[in-house]
């Protein structure tokens, strides 16, 4: 019985830690954007440059970090690429002329400023970061 309890507790801790890892970023948009949620597939397509407009036809502006835990968690959750692979993916688009390079920001403050400045922007910060002035958008399946 003791072994079963230990196993149950271990499984519970394991599932909690998985939830924490999956939730290591918070998606943010400008408060004027009416969107309340976004599907994981759409978020993936936005990150890959395949989806470029919101439902109302406005151009999506996205910024990403070069590295960091929030960035790694988002990429793992969506495009299934490491930060290095994701960077190379966008360099292929850039150097082949297939598209404009994705906006890179250096820290969370730059990300927040970017979203405040652009009404159609989407970005993310670490789960523990500040989210005042911005609107949180949920990722749905």
């Amino acid at each position: 019985m003791k072994n079963i309890n230990t196993l149950m507790i271990s499984l519970l801790l394991l599932s909690l830690s998985s939830l924490c890892l999956a939730g290591d970023y918070v998606l943010l948009i400008n408060p004027v954007n009416p969107a309340e949620s976004i599907s994981r597939d759409d978020l993936t397509d936005i990150l890959l440059g395949k989806k470029t407009t919101w439902a109302d036809g406005q151009k999506i502006k996205i910024a990403v970090y070069k590295k960091g835990e929030a960035h790694r968690a988002l990429l793992k959750d969506t495009v299934k690429k490491s930060p290095m692979q994701f960077s190379l993916y966008w360099k292929k688009i850039l150097f082949s002329g297939s598209g404009t390079p994705i906006q890179i920001v250096n820290n969370e403050q730059e990300m927040i400023d970017f979203i405040i400045k652009n009404p159609t922007a989407i970005g993310y910060i670490a789960a523990a970061g500040k989210i005042e002035q911005l609107k949180v958008i949920q990722v749905i399946e």
Binding site: D45, K67, S82, M84, S87, F95, G97, T100
Partner: protein, 410 residues
């Protein structure tokens, strides 16, 4: 004024003008990126580039500078200048690699006009940016120097987009038409000259410098991003017809103008890529029919009728985020119907000029997001693709090559 300088100036004025009209600062709108790379090549017996079989050679490098600007939400402009050195080819002369205006109506339809990279296979559009290709020397069956001018870029119009079909996955497409530039030193132009001269030698005639112009160039690429995670499949189809002109030197009649045509019909490239975690498998297959005609007395005389055939499989396994091990097996035949090299022997060359096989292993180390180092070893059998710089009277069927390359991008 120098034509290249004029082009650069014109592009710069256009970009600055469009930005000033939108009222935003230049620094906010223009993105400037670039790359540079330098290789060292050492080969045994045969020269991959001049002198690579003696002391090795550093004559393999690239430098590119890219400008891109979003003029409006749907209209953007970009250009890339490229200077490359590959033995005697390029010599770091700056050329417009691509430069075009792009209007995107929606995710599924956009139009480009200008000089555009030909969307051929998996790597053609960024083959000169070392960080973006898995090995320093791409599979020669598909990405060698001999046909590069035909396939590197076109001047014309392209339609492109992404069609999302839901559960079936999505499709990227790019349809194109226009013209291509044939540089005077393109290897196939020298081949035409050699083929005509060989046919005329018995009659005591020869031809001079060949110049070539495109009559027709069109094709398309489609990529199916399958619902299976990491799997994409695709193909490119290209058709082109070019005419060439030269001067025939006749012992009695003197110099006479002559012409002919080169047709590359029904060329196709099929490719697939499977990314499974840290392992990426890629493969491509190509058939490239080339017909060369000489026009004599209003009649087209067939000089050459070959279907080039090539394929490769490549594996790349990444350890951590920085180190990648690569392996390649590559095969090419100068003529699909002649795997024994009989055609090469007819021309007076050894049979191994009819094929080329490459077994290669490499290491790639991404030092950081900007620096990449590569080291690789190639074991070749045959010379059907790497004949351009060899001493034709002193070749070896089996040869090896070591390549070290460093590249930087920003």
């Amino acid at each position: 004024m120098n034509k290249k300088l004029f082009t650069c100036l014109l592009l710069s004025i256009f970009m600055l003008l469009t930005i000033s009209l939108t009222g935003e600062s230049v620094s906010e709108r223009i993105r400037i990126n670039g790359f540079l790379s330098q290789a060292y090549v050492y080969s045994s017996h045969n020269d991959f580039i001049p002198n690579s079989s003696k002391n090795g050679s550093f004559e393999m490098s690239e430098f590119g500078l890219t400008f891109s600007v979003d003029i409006t939400e749907k209209l953007r402009f970009g250009c890339q200048f490229l200077a490359r050195d590959f033995g005697p080819i390029g010599n770091h002369n700056v050329k417009l690699d691509w430069g075009f205006a792009d209007y995107k109506f929606s995710n599924f339809l956009g139009i480009k006009a200008g000089k555009i990279k030909t969307p051929l296979g998996l790597y053609n559009e960024f083959r000169d940016t070392d960080a973006l290709i898995p090995m320093a020397i791409l599979p020669q069956s598909i990405y060698d120097e001999s046909m590069r001018p035909v396939f590197i870029a076109y001047n014309g119009i392209g339609l492109y987009g992404n069609l999302d079909t839901g559960s079936v996955g999505d499709f990227d497409y790019h349809l194109f038409t226009g013209t291509i530039n044939h540089p005077d030193d393109a290897p196939y132009i020298n081949q035409i000259q050699a083929a005509v001269n060989q046919g005329m030698a018995e009659l005591g005639m020869s031809i001079g410098q060949v110049t070539m112009d495109t009559e027709l160039f069109y094709g398309g690429k489609i990529v199916w991003n399958t619902p299976l995670s990491g799997l994409r499949l695709g193909g490119t189809y290209v058709l082109t017809k070019s005419v060439y002109n030269s001067t025939l030197y006749h012992p009695l009649a003197g110099a006479l103008p002559i012409s002919g045509k080169m047709e590359i019909n029904k060329t196709f490239f099929l490719f697939g890529e499977l990314a499974l975690g840290n392992l990426t498998l890629t493969s491509e297959y190509m058939e490239l029919p080339v017909n060369i005609y000489l026009n004599l007395f209003e009649e087209d005389m067939l000089l050459s009728d070959e279907v080039m055939q090539g394929w490769y499989v490549m594996a790349a396994y990444t350890i951590g985020d920085k180190l990648t091990l690569t392996a390649l097996y590559d095969r090419f035949y100068a003529d699909k119907g002649d795997h024994q090299g009989l055609g090469a022997m007819k021309m007076g060359y050894p049979d191994y000029f009819g094929w080329q096989k490459d077994l290669a292993f490499g290491l790639r180390f991404d030092v950081n997001f900007n620096w990449t180092l590569k080291l690789e070893w190639h074991n070749f059998d045959g010379l059907a693709k790497s004949y351009v710089f060899v001493d034709l009277f002193n070749t070896e069927r089996k040869w090896n090559m070591l390549v070290a390359k460093a590249s930087f991008n920003f």
